[in-house]
Amino acid sequence: MSTHTGVDERLAPTSTVRKLLGRPELGSVVGAVAVFVFFSIAAPSFLQASSLSTILYSASTIGIMAAPVALLMIGGEFDLSAGVMVTTSALVSSMFSYQMTANVWVGVLVSLLVTLAIGFFNGFMLTRTKLPSFIITLGTFLMLTGLNLGFTKLISGTVSTKTIADMEGFSSARALFASQWTVGSVTLKITILWWLILVAVATWILLRTRAGNWIFAVGGGADAARATGVPVVKTRIGLYMGVALCAWISGQHILFSYDVVQSGEGVGNEFLYIIAAVIGGCLMTGGYGSAIGSAVGAFIFGMTSNGIVYAQWNPDWFKFFLGAMLLLATLLNAWVRKRAEARA
């Protein structure tokens, strides 16, 4: 495609098109358009405003977690405890408020500290033991699953928490974490706003700050990064605490929108976050990816999971579609990246 103008092409300014082709999320954007068009044709109720707001909400619940998980994966690590951590955060918040008969906000803040501590634990164990993050966070995942069930049963006497809707501070906390605006037939939930803000912040960190360079460097090769003076330990712990922070936001959303939390939930969701990040162009090996991509990945997930329902297909096939989409998206990403590298 290169044009022969007689100028050394290394000196030619890179065109906007070429810049776009080099973005990690390009493949996922193509995929998102394809999925959107597909379901617009296959499902008559897919294009209604109310359906699209449902899809956006569904995408935001995954996307809020997919953004920090994408950053973590660019930093070259995994977090398998992210799914149950969301439930843990909601449980801690609810049970602390209830048992202490405290203002709901106290529980919310305690939950923030506890969740951040879990994130710190993940990062600290990883940097201290030098074990792969897969093993460390698998351990955390299992421990949290057990703690969620065990503690809830021990404290509440049942498998779900008690209602805190009649306590002080509930309505203001609900306004922050689970409010919604209805415009005509469309209901927009606040998680969509949280999601957009988080993706914007994550993108800013990645592309405009020193910490962003550190994340790419650590994911590209920890030893080389250390040699050039990158604070590897601090970066990794920070990344895990970022995941914990977002798990706290998600957890509070679940608590304040449903008021009661089931102790056994959240298992398996960690893979959805990873899938969203990978569809969005993150590499499993680290050092490459984007936060915007994770948002596109989450949007694809939202379209698929709801589109299958709108198309009135049998949901037994949902997991099959998810797997096929993951493969296709990853292949597309790899192909686009190869093309981009060949041109650069």
């Binding site: 109310s50 449902t54 909400y57 498998v159 102790s263 939930e265 999971s305 949901p315």
Partner: protein
Amino acid sequence: MARVRTGVRVVGAVLAAVLGASLAGCSSTGGKRAEERAKAEAQGRPAVSTPRWTFAMVTHAGDGDTFWDIVQKGAKEAAAKDNINFVYAHDDQAQQQAQFVQNAIDQKVDGIIVSLAKPEALKDVVAKAVKAGIPVVTVNSGSAQSAAYGALTHIGQDEQIAGEAVGTELSKRGKKKAVCVLHEQGNVGHEQRCAGAKKTFSGTMENLYVEGTNMPSVQAAVQAKLQADPSIDAILTLGAPFAPTAVKAKDAAGSKAEVDTFDLNESVARDLASGALGFAVDQQPYLQGYEAVDLLWLYRYNANVLGGGRPVLTGPQIVTAAEAAKLEEFIKRGSR
């Protein structure tokens, strides 16, 4: 080239052999053919001339759940009869289940059937459906919340009452020490069953939590429990697939305990008839699905509401060796 040709020949020979064997070796009992015969007997054609309404059913079933498969079957057969376009969705996570109900509202369906295993999570979205003028019937779990949330009727089994029936039956059989095997940590209905059984049982009963998604570990856990306490003389499982596993565990541990279970399936019916199981408590899942669809149809067609504001119960029904033989063919068909 020659090698390719031999390859083709070998494949051809194998195919011929398989075909020949399958034609020559027909089974005169069971199999696909018997299933198709049974299906043909219950062929679904609309029996009414009402418009083609769409009803959506959203449950808290996990993937590949036997019990919910039967509920779905009942619903589908009622839908065929009532000229209904039936849509089904399920997820064991409350958030996703609420999402599916929202999807149904978005699609402006003519009726919604929902199971309230996690009532609070579905409260808002059910209210939304009612506000949108969509009739809602709750099914299987949530009898306490159904009316308050604005549903027409609840159809299902009261888990507490079902548990109490089991406790009474165990006492009648002279059992002294029972163990209640919960295969799903975090399930409120399961807790209620065990609590109900404990309440009316004259002996002592304790709970044992096992990992229901992993059969070998269920067997190991029950086995370990029986080895640790040889005085246990009754094991109660809360789902049909776990009864044969408990029987295996019992045999391996050399225990004399009687295994009893909630719900039915083919192997439970067989084990009841052969005496390997004591009794089963059926809540007639087929009826839950069938009636839910039919009640919505009745409401749309004739504004009929069943139950007088109270839950309509489909169980518990105690099934012993005597009844098992009668039910076996229905169970085989997948409708009991």
